[in-house]
């Protein structure tokens, strides 16, 4: 028995990989959807802010992520896009990440088609623009000029009905940054602090700790935190999707990791007691 308990301290990592693989894949195959539970105040804050905007408001969305973080960020991006469209808001989509241009199409076009939204009237995609902070600052003066009067499809921005009402940040009711990097900090530091643009962020769970101080200081109107935040938002807009489905896998995977930690500690204490008894 003692030997068996000692072995718990050094389980072959391949077994851990195998168990985690099964824990992640099986809930997807079984289409297992556990209830998401209580919604985080930071997620609800984003939802409530969009709810209270007058219909027709322009919401700017920056899709600053790549396929690596897409499983975590795309569900929340789709849920927020759906919410904005359902409330009859208009969307100005952009990215400061080179791979974000195709992320916009994946997240935006599908929902827009689903809800019969018209390009140029209900939403515009200005695509990727290099320059980071310079782009953020420039948009505060003249959005069309920063993008050289051209959208991601090569069409003239100034000819689009939606862009007639959009000159600079004064015409943007809310800016949401979906990011797996430090760009939300640049949006807060330059667009919010300089131009007073209201900002929300949707980020990967590992990044959320960096942004909680900004939400607490009201420099962010809200924060959608990882896959859990995505699942919560999907529930809030009544469109459960990949976020809710992913939470089941994450639940079981987290539980198993905790189980492995407990097993490792049992092995550690048994080994330590045995070595103390020997000395």
């Amino acid at each position: 028995m003692g030997e068996l308990l000692r072995k718990l301290e050094s389980i072959d990592r391949r077994w851990i990989y195998l168990v985690i693989f099964a824990a992640v894949v099986i809930p997807f195959l079984m289409n297992l959807k556990l209830p998401v539970g209580k919604h985080s105040p930071s997620t609800t804050a984003v939802h409530d802010y969009i709810e209270q905007l007058p219909p027709g408001s322009v919401i700017q969305m920056s899709f600053d992520y790549s396929p690596a973080s897409m499983p975590e960020l795309e569900p929340m991006a789709k849920a927020v896009v759906r919410h904005a469209f359902e409330e009859n808001h208009r969307i100005l989509a952009m990215t400061l990440h080179p791979q974000g241009a195709l992320m916009i199409r994946r997240a935006l076009d599908e929902v827009a088609t689903d809800l019969n939204k018209e390009y140029g009237v209900d939403y515009v995609d200005v695509g990727f623009k290099p320059g980071g902070v310079a782009v953020i600052l420039g948009m505060g003066r003249d959005i069309i000029r920063v993008f050289e009067d051209m959208d991601a499809r090569g069409e003239k921005l100034s000819a689009m009905p939606m862009m007639r009402d959009v000159a600079d940040y004064d015409d943007i009711a809310l800016m949401i940054d979906f990011a797996a990097n430090s760009l939300p900090l640049a949006w807060i530091g330059y667009a919010h602090e300089r131009y007073g643009l209201q900002i929300a962020a949707g980020v990967t769970a590992v990044m959320a700790t960096d942004l909680y101080p900004y939400w607490k200081s009201e420099q962010l109107v809200g924060l959608i935190n990882g896959l859990k935040g995505a699942a919560e938002y999907e529930e809030l807009v009544g469109a459960p999707g990949f976020g809710v489905l992913g939470m089941s896998s994450q639940s079981i995977a987290h539980l198993l990791i905790i189980l492995f930690i407990i097993m490792g500690n049992i092995g550690y204490f048994v080994t330590r007691r045995a070595s103390q008894n020997r000395t």
Binding site: I11, I16, Y17, I20, F21, V24, L34, P35, G37, K38, S40, P41, S66, P67, A68, S69, M70, P71, P98, L102, R105, R106, K129, P130, G131, G132, V133, A134, V135, L137, G138, R141, R153, G154, R194, A208, T209, D210, Y212, P213, K216, G226, K228, M247, S248, Q250, S251, I252, A253, H254, L255, L256, I257, I258, F260, I261, G264, N265, Y268, F269
Partner: protein
Amino acid sequence: MIVQFFVPHAVGTQGYELLLQWARIVGAFALVLGIGSLFRTHWDKIRRRRPQYGYSAVTLLSFGLMVWAGIVYGTGEGGLGQRLTEMQNGTAFEWLFDNVQVPLDATMFSLLAFFIASAAYRTFRARNVEATLLLVTAVIVMLGRVPIGEMIYEKMPEVYEWIMQYPAVAGKRGILFGVALGSIATSLRIILGIERSHLGG
């Protein structure tokens, strides 16, 4: 730039606009420089037959393929990609992005789950009080972030929120203040000529 932030005079604003344009142009050229550097590094590795140069060859081939797909067939609708598969709309570039880059990139990131599970098992040991505190916090955060945590203990999400909103924010703010003060001090040392190590002095 700092002066015009506080004094919005026409002269300052014009200079600011000009600098912003320069910054955007430099940003675009930085992409070109990055591509040039990537090409030179990997080409050099292949030419000298350095260890694992095969990966460099794959990098350059993939790079060339994406550039070829983007330039020759464009990024609009109705390109080669549409002919490659009837199920997928878009161009060759989009087809390659959706069917090669997205799964490869997602796979790389997904490996984190396995490494984190293995690392958590090996490192979270209650060796002393500090390690035990870290372990307990990690377990609460892991449980608080998933629905099953709420099934185990109803208030688990609230405990998680408290950890994130108070101890985590306090720690993070401390780090932020430290970094900000350190940056100001270093900047002042460089501006005043006290710090010259970046010049090789």
